[in-house]
Amino acid sequence: MSESNSVEKRILESLKSKFGESILEDGWEGALAPKRIKTFASREKIVEVAQAIKELGFDQVISQGGTDYPKDDIFKVNYHLIAVDNEELKPIILSLATKLPRNDPKMSTLTNVWRSAEFHEQETFENFGIFFEGHPRMERLLLPEDWDDIPPLRKEFTLPGR
C-alpha cells in the first residue's frame, strides 16, 4: 500500500510544483486517498493543467460530468482520468474538477487534450447547459430533438409527480 501511495504522492507533488497550492483548492474533501487523486483547476487554467496531467501519462477520460450546486451558485465539472497504457498509473483514477458560475456556464473544451472527452462534453452540454468553447460538435446528443425545457440535470428541473 505504501508503495502505491508513493506514486500518487509523487504525481500530486509534481503537479503542485508546477501550479502551486491552487491545485488542491477544493472545498469538498482531501486530495489524496488510496488509488485516488483529486485535483482542482480554475477554468482559466484548466487546459494548461490538463496538458500537464496528460504528459504524466493519463491517456483516457473515463467519465466527465457536472454537478449542480444551486446553494453555492456554481456548477462543478469533473473529469475522471485513467491511464490504460502505463503500468505504474493503471490503478489510479485522477479527478480534475473545476467550478463555473451558474449565470455564465462556459469553459474551454478539453477535446484537444483528450479526444475521448468529446461525447462526454456533449452530454454535459445538453444535461446542464454548460457550453464548451472550441468543441467540434456542440449539439444535442441524447435528448429528443424537440426538447424545449431547461436542461434536465439542473436542480430546478423537477420530475413530474415528485
Binding site: W28, E29, K35, R36, D59, Q60, V61, I62, S63, Q64, G65, T67, D68, N78, H80, I82, V84, D85, K90, P91, I93, S95, W114, R115, S116, A117, E118, F119, H120, E123, N127, L141, L142, L143, P144, P152, L153, F157, L159, R162
Partner: protein, 368 residues
C-alpha cells in the same frame, strides 16, 4: 483510416432505428458508391433519464432501474454502483458475499458475450451461430436464475452484500454446465471461428490501431483486441479479484476477428474464475444487516469495475441525505460510440454490420 476525397455523388441515408441491423439507434451514413465516407451516430432513442431518476430515489430503490440499461449484464452494471455506494454508506460486505458477487458478475459476462456472439452470427448470415450460442446461453441463464430469481434482471447486489445465498447443489450444477460448455466452445471454433468464410469477412475489417484505440477512449474487449492489456480486474483489483488467478486475453491485430476471439477467450477465463471462486468460498453470512434508513455520508465516491463491455464507472455525490445528490454513470458503450464513426469511415457498406456489432455496442446502455 484514411478516406480519399473523391469527386462524385454522395448519398446520405439513415440506418435505423427500424432496421434489422441497427438495433435501437440511428446512424446517418454518407456513402460514395458503397464506400462509407462519413458516419454520424444519432443515439438517444432509449434515453430514459436514469441519472435524474437517481436523485429522487434512495440508495436501495436505485438498484432496479440502474440495472435496466444493460439487462444482459445486469450484475456488471450494478457492481460499480454498489462499490461506490458502500464507500459512502460505510458498510463492508462479508467475504462470502464478495465471492458470490464475483460468481454472478462472471456468469453475467458469459451471458452477455453469448448474446453478442449469437447476434454476430446472424449479422453474417450464419444461422447456426445464432442458434447454438442462444441455446447454450440458456444454461448460464438457468445458473444465474437459480441464484438471482429472475432470468436476467436480478436486483441481486445491494450495499452490504447480496440479497440471498446461493442455492444448495449450485456447485455440481455449475461444474456440469462448464464441462459441457468447454466442449461446445471447441465446436464453436470449428463452425465459426475457423470457418474460412467467416475469416474472409472479418479479418482485416475495421482495424483499430493501438494509438487510436487509446486516444479515442475505447474500452473493454475492443481495447484488448488492439493490444492494450487493460482490465480493471487486474489494474485495480476490486472485491476478491486479487485472490484469483486468471489471464487477460489480448490480441494485436485490432480487427473484427480478434475482437471476437477476445470475447471467446474471456468466456473461458470467466469459467476459470467461477471455479476458483466456488472453491475459495467459505461458509458465513452473505450480508451485513443494516437497521433504519440508509444514508450516505457527505462527500463523493467513485468506483470502477470491469463489466462485459468494458470499464463501468460511477461517480456518486452525497449531501448526507437518504437520496444521492448526483449519480454520474459512465458506461462503456457510450465511450465506444465515438469509435464507431472512426472505424466505419472508409469501409464498405456491406461490412457495416460486422464492424458495428463487432464493437458490442449496446444502445440501451449508451443512452441510459
Amino acid at each position: 483510416m484514411e478516406v480519399v476525397e473523391r469527386q462524385g455523388d454522395y448519398l446520405t441515408m439513415s440506418v435505423g432505428p427500424q432496421h434489422p441491423g441497427s438495433g435501437h439507434m440511428r446512424l446517418i451514413v454518407t456513402v460514395d458508391g458503397d464506400i462509407i465516407v462519413k458516419v454520424k451516430p444519432d443515439p438517444g432513442y432509449v434515453h430514459r433519464g436514469a441519472e435524474k431518476m437517481c436523485e429522487v430515489r434512495t440508495y436501495i430503490q436505485n438498484i432496479p432501474h440502474l440495472e435496466r440499461p444493460v439487462i444482459i449484464d445486469s450484475c456488471g452494471i450494478l457492481f460499480a454502483y454498489v462499490l461506490a455506494a458502500e464507500e459512502l454508506i460505510g458498510v463492508q460486505p462479508p467475504p462470502r458475499a464478495q465471492y458470490i458477487r464475483i460468481i454472478m458478475a462472471e456468469l453475467n459476462r458469459i451471458i452477455s458475450h453469448m448474446y453478442w456472439l449469437s447476434i454476430y452470427g446472424i449479422f453474417m448470415g450464419h444461422s447456426t451461430m445464432f442458434m447454438w450460442p442462444m441455446g447454450d446461453r440458456e444454461l448460464f441463464i438457468d445458473l444465474a436464475a437459480s441464484i438471482g430469481g429472475t432470468r436476467v434482471t436480478f436486483s441481486y447486489f445491494i450495499p452490504g452484500g447480496v440479497r440471498n445465498d446461493i442455492p444448495p447443489g449450485f456447485k455440481e450444477k455449475a461444474l456440469k454446465t462448464f464441462d459441457y460448455f468447454v466442449k461446445r466452445l471447441k465446436e464453436y471454433e470449428k463452425i465459426y471461428f475457423n470457418n474460412p468464410l467467416v475469416l474472409k469477412r472479418t479479418q482485416g475489417v475495421g482495424v483499430f490501431k493501438r494509438e487510436d484505440a487509446i486516444s479515442l477512449g475505447v474500452t473493454g474487449p475492443n481495447l484488448r483486441a488492439s493490444g492494450v492489456a487493460s482490465d480493471t480486474r487486474k489494474d485495480e483489483p476490486y472485491s476478491m479479484y486479487d485472490t484469483i488467478d486468471f489471464d487477460i486475453p489480448t490480441y494485436r491485430e485490432g480487427d473484427s476477428y480478434s475482437r471476437a476471439w477476445v470475447r471467446l477467450e474471456e468466456m473461458r477465463e470467466s469459467m476459470k474464475i467461477i471455479r476458483q471462486a466456488i472453491d475459495k468460498m467459505e461458509a458465513g453470512p452473505v450480508k451485513q444487516p443494516m437497521r433504519g434508513q440508509i444514508k450516505g455520508k457527505v462527500g463523493e465516491a467513485f468506483a470502477r469495475t470491469e463489466a462485459a463491455r468494458g470499464t463501468m464507472f460511477y461517480h456518486i455525490v452525497s449531501d448526507g441525505g437518504k437520496f444521492p445528490y448526483r449519480v454520474k454513470i459512465s458506461v462503456p458503450s457510450f465511450r465506444n460510440l465515438i469509435a464507431m464513426s472512426h472505424l466505419l469511415e472508409g469501409n464498405r457498406l456491406a461490412d457495416m454490420p460486422v464492424i458495428y456489432w463487432g464493437l458490442d455496442y449496446w444502445p440501451v446502455e449508451a443512452d441510459r
